[in-house]
Assembly symmetry: C2
Homo-oligomer: 256 residues x 2
């Protein structure tokens, strides 16, 4: 490892190590310190916080330069974080950045996203962690604004840290000039009309996940979907403790 006084930065994603989004993230973030990339060897979109329980995983070193190592891993995004921490790094990183995702991870997508799953995993382990996504699924999207905002937030996190149990979810709209950064909440909503039925060549039905997002609070100017729709990058602090504390006393009388 190089100069240990530089911040150590773990980088991952869910679109895979060869995606343009992580390339642009590495270009923006790696110069902030010593970077180690551990990312899936192929796309793992929609993997949430999945872990590989019944099969072994493998890791390959793709690149080793001064202050930059890149590993491909056969596991999920969370596996990448876990094996990075447990096996590949010789000290705890000062920062984890996951992305830049090809496609929005705003609103309820935090639940399904492998990009966000990786940031939550960093948070569980105790690393200040940030997920960065661009609202454009195209493999050749323009990541320049997302990289700029991602770098800016990463610098803030390196400088100020994050409280235990809290990580950040940054989404950046797919427009040439983002109007600014808003700190907002996860928009309430859900996906609807989720499947398209087709027939396979033998005539049997198969179902493809499609769907559209139904925003239950389109007028909430303090929500991430509102910020994105109105040209702002949206930063949502997330916590890994999912306990609904306010509801505990409401069902206390269920105890027996």
């Amino acid at each position: 490892m190089a100069d240990s006084k530089k911040p150590l930065i773990l980088i991952t994603n869910d679109d895979g190590v060869y995606a343009l989004g992580i390339k642009k993230l590495i270009e923006a973030i790696a110069p902030l310190g010593e970077a180690v990339v551990v990312a899936p060897d192929s796309p793992r979109s929609g993997m949430s916080s999945a872990i590989t329980c019944v099969n072994p995983i493998r890791v390959s070193l793709l690149k080793e330069e001064e202050d930059l190592k890149i590993y491909a891993c056969t596991g999920t995004p969370v596996d990448c974080v876990k094996i990075g921490i447990d096996r590949l790094l010789n000290r705890k990183p000062d920062l984890l950045v996951s992305g830049i995702n090809h496609g929005s991870n705003a609103a309820v997508s935090v639940v399904y996203s492998g990009t966000v799953g990786a940031a939550l995993e960093g948070c569980i382990i105790g690393i200040p962690s940030l997920a960065v996504s661009l609202t454009d699924h195209s493999p050749h999207a323009d990541f320049s604004e997302a990289a700029k905002f991602g770098k800016s937030v990463a610098e803030k996190v390196l400088k100020e840290g994050l409280p235990k149990g809290i990580c950040l979810n940054l989404n950046v709209p797919n427009i040439p000039e983002v109007r600014g950064l808003k700190v907002v909440s996860q928009t309430t909503g859900r996906w609807i009309k989720e499947f398209e039925e087709m027939q396979d060549p033998s005539g049997k039905s198969v179902y493809w996940l499609i769907g559209e997002f139904f925003n239950e609070e389109p007028d909430n100017a303090n929500s991430d979907e509102w910020a994105l729709t109105n040209g702002y990058a949206a930063l949502v602090p997330l916590h890994v403790d999912m306990t609904a504390y306010n509801f505990i006393e409401k069902i206390r009388n269920w105890e027996k």
Copy 2:
């Protein structure tokens, strides 16, 4: 569909439709109404809230009886809930129950668990939802206490409902006589020593996920791990909005 005045109950799990845990759950829960089971066709442990994005999924009807249908699905637990709601049921269920999981889903396991992922998905869709797990990974575990507590909580939920955005995570200890039910919070902790390295037959390294849970608050009598260790079933209310609201104002000055 049979008598529509009976509650409609959607049942799923992550150990697969042929697991003993879901069989015992069906026996306990299905008599409370009209039950439709949509469960993975094989084990999907550790799938969290993963969704199947790039491949189609298939559904097979395994059994059709008065008030009980059982479908196997090639997707994840969340896919099972989504396709159940979107394609297989003719009305919104009154209750979703996921489990009984072979193994604990207490503490931070809520993040990785497909069983809990399915309950969170039901919650997102607006169905009162409950995950049930037994702290025993054995395929032939004794599910009688877990089924008893699961049924009791399910009856409460059918009667009283749950607020929007909140679902329940029930874990039951693997002991012959559970002392009672405690309403508690998700224990803070993380998994450590997570991988075992082995050589494959060609001599290349592979890594198996193992690990042990490190409890950061072993003395917190209001946490789920404490309840389980002390012989109680642990009921944790979870919310799907992961926003750390208290932290928003702390980073408001990051806006620009």
